[in-house]
């Protein structure tokens, strides 16, 4: 137990900070932060599997997150029947064409020896396939996008419960990681970083601009929820009674009945949003705990030791007969699938899918900072990193504003420097994160909670 002392201390401080937010700002904000911390934690578990276990640098986290979000739309939205009628056939045909192209290319690559002719024929098959795809898809896409463009204009999803999308998101991201891993994993570390960064950008730009798929930048709003809606809660008898019971001491202080009713209404509205967020917290916490148990078991299993051996010395591991290419691919897929799961969780939490909001800054680099700050190779560390960095990311602006006001309080209200600083308070979060990362890299490169290797 002594070994876990610092872990427990670090997490207690974190929980204490979130409770402070609850007391000083509001419980709703505190729960929002906590939920995002949990989602970030899932992302960092994914990134940590790749970077901490195997030393793979994946700057494509944004792409998998977006794909997970897309999965929510594809699974939970009701299908748009009319769009399927007018253009579904073309899209299905396109999928078959893509499958055919892949098979033909594979066939050519397997069947013939390496030669210029083979390269040219592969290139011409792909080029011809793309032209064929465009010709097939164009009328279908046009028809789909013109079906009630203000509301739908896309194929819709499968209309299943939203929780299925979490699994589907993970599968989708894992599938993509398989393809990318096959392409890019042979590259050297920093090349891999750049390649994955750019591939993620390609994925997001496809999601953004293919409106028949998920409305692109027009966004999908009002997604299904695994939790009750606030409006339903506010009208249901049991919930009002519950709130009244919780706040009975406060309510008893109010004498007039109309005032009492008004206060109760306000309490019910506040409590409903807190209740919904608590439901999400419960779901996310379950996911984080399951993932933590599984990854922790994996880390200390023979498989985890093998991964560490590969990470620390590839040549030695390969001399011992470990298949490095296969293991790298496997871990790339696993990590990406977890990130895809996190992406689906995030979109479920928000209730809307906004492809325009996927930016590498927020979804790749901040996640990386979380992993590095928290502790690479240690799951408790990675999760803590997710909590700490997300907390700073959200709370940096209010804290900066407070400090600016404190230090410039001797200046008049209209002082140009003071006004300018107050206006730029939101950008101090970049400064805090950046300096935090640089300090950690310099003075504690192993992170807040360093990797622990248990000798067996």
């Amino acid at each position: 137990m002594r070994n876990y002392k610092n872990v427990i201390a670090a997490y207690s401080i974190m929980i204490f900070l979130i409770i402070l937010v609850g007391i000083f700002q509001s419980w709703s904000i505190a729960l929002t932060i906590l939920n995002y911390c949990l989602i970030s934690a899932v992302m960092t578990i994914g990134a940590n599997i790749q970077w901490g276990y195997a030393g793979l640098i994946n700057f494509g986290i944004m792409g998998y997150t977006a794909l997970g979000g897309l999965a929510v739309v594809l699974v939970s939205v009701e299908p748009v029947k009319k769009a399927w009628q007018v253009g579904g056939l073309n899209i299905l045909a396109c999928i078959w064409i893509i499958v055919a192209i892949i098979f033909v290319v594979k066939f050519i690559l397997n069947r013939f020896d390496k030669s210029k002719l083979r390269n040219y024929s592969v290139a011409s098959v792909i080029l011809g396939g793309i032209i064929l795809l465009r010709v097939t898809a164009a009328p279908g896409i046009e028809a789909i996008e013109s079906v009630d463009p203000a509301k739908t204009g896309f194929l819709g999803g499968m209309g299943l419960p939203v929780l299925f999308s979490w699994i589907f998101g993970a599968l989708l991201a894992g599938g993509l990681a398989f393809v990318i891993g096959k392409i890019a994993l042979g590259l050297r570390a920093d090349y891999l970083a750049i390649a994955t960064l750019l591939i993620a950008e390609i994925i997001v730009s496809i999601i953004k601009h293919e409106e028949w798929l998920a409305r692109g930048v027009k966004n999908v709003i009002g997604l299904k929820r695994p939790a009750p809606y606030e409006i339903d809660l506010q009208t249901s008898e049991w919930f009002i009674n519950l709130v009244a019971k919780f706040n009975s001491s406060k309510l008893n202080l109010i004498n007039s009945i109309s005032d009492k009713q008004e206060a109760l209404n306000q309490m019910v509205i506040d409590a409903s949003s807190v209740y919904v967020k608590l439901c999400f917290t419960g779901l996310f916490l379950t996911v984080v705990i399951i993932l933590l148990i599984v990854t922790q078991k994996a880390l200390y299993s023979p498989w985890g030791r093998k991964m560490r051996a590969i990470r620390d010395n590839e040549e030695a591991a390969s001399a011992m007969g470990k298949n490095i290419v296969k293991e790298h691919l496997l871990i790339f897929i696993l990590g990406s699938a977890i990130v895809g799961l996190a992406g689906a969780m995030m979109v479920t939490n928000d209730g809307l899918f906004t492809p325009g909001s996927y930016r590498p800054m927020r979804y790749t680099f901040v996640i990386w900072v979380m992993v590095i700050v928290g502790g690479t190779g240690n799951n408790f560390g990675a999760i803590l990193g997710g909590f700490v960095v997300w907390f700073l990311w959200v709370e940096a602006a209010p804290i900066a504003l407070f400090l600016i006001n404190l230090f410039t309080s001797h200046l008049p209200e209209t002082n140009a420097v003071r006004v300018h600083l107050i206006e730029s308070a939101p950008y101090f979060r970049f400064l805090v994160i950046g300096i935090g990362l640089l300090l950690i890299m310099r003075y504690r490169p192993q992170g807040i909670i360093p990797e622990k290797i248990i000798k067996q």
Binding site: A195, M361, W368
Partner: protein, 336 residues
């Protein structure tokens, strides 16, 4: 006549913009490649460093304008570039002293360097937004056009015109001048040779008495010059927006790798390869073809390979293809 018109359409809408955009990318790509060759890491703060230099040019341009200084028909920004470069070099040297030098002495792996540069990226981005704010700024003054489409049509009597913006001409000329001076410096002077030696084989270079501190200093100086000029030219041509500069880092990386990372000449050409590919693939050829074909054969569609939304995606796909087929780039990388 129709053939001439077709050529002019193509020239006006693809070649000129691609040359200007390619020059801006090329400067950035040489910056990336130099840092990679001499200091041995992929600098993820590239875009924001370019933005940082440009920020000083923008602020100084506003200041000079308020004083009434100017270059007449040329943009005032050209006057402010030297000052902006000085500030940029100062910033880079401070960053190097307090951040990068520690890892260089420790001989950290490139991945750690890359992560540190991500930290620098965050800090630089914060400084830029705190100093100048995230909004869109135009700081171009002076003449806007060198040749206007209407004037060109009157002069030649053709149906299509060529528009040459002054920023495009300035971009291409300044890039050529800067890049030629840089190549002369790298290839002909003693300092340049010592830099190449250091990049080729650090230990041998140290053995033959090359001062590593001096090499690093010169590298940052050249990097500062390239970053600032590239950033200012881009800002003049489009507009200055911190967020866009961060995004520009991606095609710049693509250009550097396509050209063979570590090879400045490759990076220079890589910039143009990326720019031409982006513009040629996303250009709608309808007008071009309609001049060449007889009237009844005129095409209905736009004849566009990909919509302009995929401009960035094109350059990234090229990068992926190059990485797959020839990871060392078009020219062999890792020598300067």
């Amino acid at each position: 006549m129709d053939f001439l018109n077709a050529i002019i359409v193509l020239f006006n809408f693809t070649v000129i913009p691609a040359l200007a955009y390619g020059s801006q990318l090329a400067l950035g790509a040489i910056f990336v490649t130099l840092i990679y060759a001499v200091l041995r890491f992929a600098n993820f703060a590239t875009g924001d460093m370019m933005s940082f230099g440009t920020m000083f040019a923008v602020i100084l341009t506003y200041y000079f304008q308020s004083l009434g200084f100017g270059l007449g028909f040329l943009p005032t920004a050209l006057l402010t570039i030297p000052f902006a470069i000085l500030m940029m070099i100062l910033y880079m040297l401070i960053i190097d002293k307090f951040v990068f030098s520690y890892y260089r002495i420790k001989k950290s792996p490139p991945v750690q360097f890359a992560m540190v540069s991500v930290g620098v990226m965050f800090v630089t981005q914060a400084l830029i937004r705190i100093i100048i704010g995230p909004s869109d700024r135009r700081f171009l003054d002076g003449e806007k056009f060198i040749i206007k489409a209407t004037e060109f049509k009157e002069m030649t009597g053709l149906a299509e015109g060529i528009t040459l913006k002054s920023t495009q001409a300035i971009t291409i000329i300044v890039t050529l001048v800067v890049v030629s001076i840089m190549f002369w410096f790298l290839n002909r002077t003693k300092t340049g040779t010592s830099m190449r030696a250091y990049s080729d084989n650090e230990d041998l270079a140290l053995l033959s008495g090359i001062d590593p501190k001096r090499v690093v200093l010169i590298t940052w100086v050249i990097a500062g010059i390239l970053a600032t000029i590239g950033g200012v030219l881009y800002g003049l041509d489009k507009s200055y927006r911190p967020f866009v500069y961060f995004n520009n880092m991606l095609p710049i990386f693509a250009a550097a790798i396509v050209g063979g990372i570590g090879n400045p000449f490759g990076a220079f050409l890589g910039g143009y390869v990326i720019a031409f590919a982006e513009i040629f693939v996303t250009y709608a050829y309808k007008r071009f073809i309609s001049y060449l074909l007889p009237e009844h054969l005129e095409p209905d569609s736009l004849l566009q390979l990909l919509s302009t939304d995929y401009k960035f995606a094109v350059s990234f796909s090229i990068l992926v293809i190059v990485l797959l087929i020839r990871p060392s780039g078009i020219f062999k990388g890792k020598v300067i």
